[in-house]
């Protein structure tokens, strides 16, 4: 087995991982960094983010506004001290990215431009047309090439963490091109593997979004926090789930039902303003919009399409072709290529699809997990800024702000840590290799990977969708337990070493089943409705007395996870009614008056 000695190893080469790698390299050029990614870093799913990144920019905006939008948007399940740090660092990090070459869209006078986004009081979303994630990722990847201390392990797949003396000391990876194992020793391990939305059926996510890092930490006793909060993005392409960015609405798009009626005004997001108004109608938060779709469908007011199923229309026609081509070029192309329609002439059929996992590996404000030496950042982590519902354009900023925080913290830890015992770590790594190889070499299995994956995705959709009920969630928990059992009988067609994606897909499925269980069990345990977790079985209201708490799922080998409730850090925003539209404005007013 090859051994590579690093100071910091980062698992995941998306936006968060790259930002962390650069932070380590800048904070101490003498530290050796190993950046492990199962795809070439610029393929990471950050690439698909469209709308933009939030950071206070306009003089009329303030950190306080961004703070309140975020905490209220998260239905008060945010770590408020962390959010305070986040909103202050956001503009710094976004400017840093500008210095590194990110082609942010600009105003005529040459400054960076900002656009409106759902749930935000003032326009503060920095954007690069509708390819913001793409540009952020490529800028970070290309900038990372500048630092000789970053050694990339591209197309390497992480199979386990090394833990000894009560601290995390490295990882074991497979080189996908050869099927060979390597051990990477490091005093600090940062997990930045992204979300887990692929455990659902219809999602906006790429095939790589399988929750690998979450499962790795989880199996080492680290809690997965707030996993029941899974965001449905309201405007996705039916069947494929591909994303039509929230910027479509930020730019002024409408959502209409089969009668051409802007139905959001019936769901506490009205009344209909004369012109687009922040936090009104289509500029409401994602959870509310997806929930409104659900009820429209119940009322029979969605459009029933023969092949696409139930949809509503995203209408961009009034924005005109020129504006659409400039601000939403990717959306324009996607509508043309994938759906064969012209958004300047036809409304786009859309429906909600799984988009984001608010929860993740529980970490503190320094991105440190409960296992010393282990850090987590980005979508795989739960640092506490999203709460029960993430506001659009907070996640891209998150990976920059906390990528840097984790990089600096991991560097500091690596400098002070005692050297590990290489010989015993190697022994551990060899045991891991044997275990993982056994999955490939075993014979006689009858369960197809695709079969189990499909059943998992379907049961998650059934039990943990936009609205949830006790009996369907229970059925999902039971089904997942069954699938866990059936996974032991998996069959792998490909026995070869070079580029064995059949084997890697099976390992991913194993990760996914763990993560799915943490989601379903956290969900069934939360007997209230909050943010993206909405119930229709007697728990329709938020219950701050019992559930102004984080859910923490702990791994139990061979069984269902153990769910524990943890405290929420509240600094300056006490829970209040979460209101948008005119009701929201009124609530804001009242809050101001009571503060005076």
């Amino acid at each position: 087995m090859e051994i590579f000695k690093a100071d910091v190893v980062i698992v995941g080469g998306g936006g968060a991982g790259l930002r962390a790698a650069i932070a380590v390299a800048e904070s101490d050029p003498a530290l050796k960094i190993a950046l492990v990614s199962k795809v070439y870093p610029m393929r990471s799913h950050t690439v698909a983010a469209e709308g933009g990144a939030a950071g206070v920019k306009k003089p009329s905006d303030s950190f306080d506004y961004h703070f309140h939008d975020t905490v209220g948007g998260g239905d008060w399940l945010c770590e408020q001290d962390v959010v305070e740090y986040f909103v202050e660092q956001a503009p710094v990090e976004l400017t840093q990215l500008e210095h590194w070459g990110c082609p942010w869209s600009r105003t005529e006078d040459g400054h960076v431009n900002v656009r409106a986004f759902g749930g935000m009081k003032i326009e503060r979303t920095w954007f690069a047309a509708d390819k913001s994630g793409f540009h952020i990722l490529h800028t970070l990847f290309q900038t990372s090439i500048k630092y000789p201390s970053i050694k990339r392990f591209d197309e390497h797949f992480c199979v386990d963490l090394l833990e000894e003396d009560g601290r995390c000391q490295g990882v074991v990876v497979i080189e996908m091109g050869t099927g060979e194992f390597s051990m990477i020793e490091a005093a600090s391990v940062i997990i930045a593997t992204g979300g887990a939305g692929r455990v659902f059926r219809e999602s906006t996510l790429g095939g790589i979004v399988t929750g690998d890092g979450m499962a790795l930490a989880y199996r080492h006793g680290v809690a997965l926090r707030d996993m029941e909060f899974v965001q449905y993005h309201p405007t996705c392409m039916p069947v494929t789930g591909l994303l039509f960015t929230e910027a479509c609405r930020g730019e002024g798009g409408f959502l209409v039902n089969k009668d051409g009626y802007r139905y959001l005004q019936d769901y506490g997001l009205g009344p209909l303003p004369d012109k687009p108004k922040n936090k009104y109608m289509e500029l409401g938060p994602r959870d509310r919009l997806s929930q409104a779709f659900f009820f429209e469908q119940q009322k029979g007011r969605t459009i029933e399409h023969p092949t696409l199923g139930s949809v509503v229309h995203l209408d961009l026609r009034h924005l005109g072709e020129a504006h659409l081509r400039e601000r939403l070029p990717l959306i324009y192309e996607m509508a043309e290529t994938f759906m064969g329609l012209d958004p300047a002439k036809d409304p786009i059929p859309v429906r909600p699809g799984v988009h984001y996992t608010m929860g993740g590996i529980k970490v503190d404000g320094n991105c440190a997990a409960s296992l010393p030496g282990l850090y987590a950042i980005g979508e795989c982590s739960s640092v506490g800024i999203h709460g029960a519902n993430r506001l659009g354009s907070n996640s891209l900023t998150e990976l920059l702000v906390f990528g840097k925080v984790a990089g600096v913290a991991a560097a500091k830890n690596a400098r002070s840590a005692a050297p590990g015992n290489s010989a015993s770590l190697l022994k551990q790594a060899q045991a891991i290799e044997q275990r993982v190889m056994a999955l490939k070499t075993r014979t006689g299995g009858t369960e197809r990977i695709a079969g189990i994956r499909k059943e998992m995705a379907q049961t998650m959709e059934d039990g943990c969708g936009i609205y949830r009920m006790q009996d369907t969630m229970q059925a999902t928990c039971d089904k997942l337990a069954e699938l866990r059992e059936r996974f032991k009988n998996i069959s792998i067609d490909d026995k070869s070493s070079v580029w064995n994606t059949d084997w890697l897909t099976a390992i991913e499925l194993d990760y996914q089943l763990d993560v799915a269980q943490s989601m379903a069990h956290s969900a069934i345990n939360r007997k209230e409705s909050r943010g993206a977790h909405q119930r229709l079985d007697g728990y329709e209201l938020r219950d701050d007395v019992a559930f102004l708490k984080h859910s923490e799922a702990y791994y139990v080998a061979g069984g269902a996870p153990r769910i524990v409730l943890g405290d929420v850090k509240i600094t300056k925003s006490q829970p209040a009614a979460r209101a948008y539209g005119a009701a929201g404005e009124k609530a804001d007013q009242e809050r101001k008056e009571s503060n005076v």
């Binding site: 070439y40 610029m42 082609p103 290309q142 090439i145 990717l330 067609d493 490909d494 070079v498 580029w499």
Partner: protein, 251 residues
């Protein structure tokens, strides 16, 4: 997906380095619906017929750049190419041309990545600025000068379209040069002269004979051929001007 499936024949160039001496074709009969991409066709084969079929993919929306392949001999992203456009004929998919095949549809991209790294694809500031000073200003003209060349998704279809790269694998090639040009044209950057050494080298732009197919197949309309040819002019100027002025051109 609707239930009344049509069946399309997908012919796949298979190669397993551990058992095959050379690649061979295999045909699969795949039920499909009109919304299915070629990528989904390949996924269907992997899920249902042969789990060992190997290909790269991720985002499914033509932005991650993973899923390029030759589709009936033309370099395309398989996620945005649809089976319905080939039916009822048989469709053939092969690994991207001009690259060594690792396994089935997966090619060796390490050479491309090295090239990407070699062009110094980052801002080397003309006038360094601190974060406190805020952002650099860029007028719409300055912005428009480079923005097109930022759209490259590194899918390498342009390399699969470039016979000069096929004939000389050392050629820096279209995407890397387009990215180099992107940084040269950025008003924040001041390192065009440093990058000229590579542009003007024997691995540089003069390998290009203006076939132009790279720009034809580019799914993001980057027009790499234009970037390469503009740099030929720049390199030629640099070549002759260095005799005139001690500062003109690089060493």
């Amino acid at each position: 997906m609707s239930e009344n499936h049509k069946i399309i024949e997908i012919e796949v160039l298979r190669y397993n380095p551990e058992s095959d001496d050379e690649p061979h074709l295999e045909v699969y009969k795949v039920p499909f619906s009109d919304d299915m991409s070629v990528l989904q066709g390949a996924q269907y084969i992997k899920d249902n017929f042969d789990g060992s079929l190997t290909f790269r993919w991720s985002c499914r929306m033509a932005i991650c750049g993973s899923c390029g392949m030759m589709i009936n001999g033309i370099p395309k992203l398989s996620c945005e190419t649809f089976l319905r456009d080939y039916y009822p004929s048989r469709i053939r998919i092969e690994a991207m041309a001009n690259f060594p095949i690792e396994k089935d549809l997966v090619v060796d991209l390490s050479g491309f990545i090295e090239k990407l790294e070699s062009i110094q694809p980052y801002i080397i500031a003309k006038e360094p600025r601190t974060l406190e000073q805020g952002e650099y200003l860029q007028t719409p003209e300055e912005f428009n000068r480079y923005i097109q060349f930022t759209s490259c998704i590194n899918c390498t279809l342009c390399y699969a379209a470039c016979p000069q790269f096929g004939l000389n694998p050392d050629f820096i090639g279209p995407a890397a040069i387009a990215l180099l040009h992107r940084y040269n044209m950025d008003s924040r950057d001041g390192a065009a002269a440093q990058r000229m050494e590579l542009v003007a080298s024997e691995e540089g732009v003069f390998n290009c004979s203006a076939v132009g197919y790279c720009s034809e197949v580019c799914p993001k309309h980057v027009d790499p051929a234009n970037a390469v040819n503009i740099n030929k002019t720049n390199a030629a100027k640099d070549y002759f001007l260095r005799f005139l002025s001690p500062k003109g051109g690089s060493k």
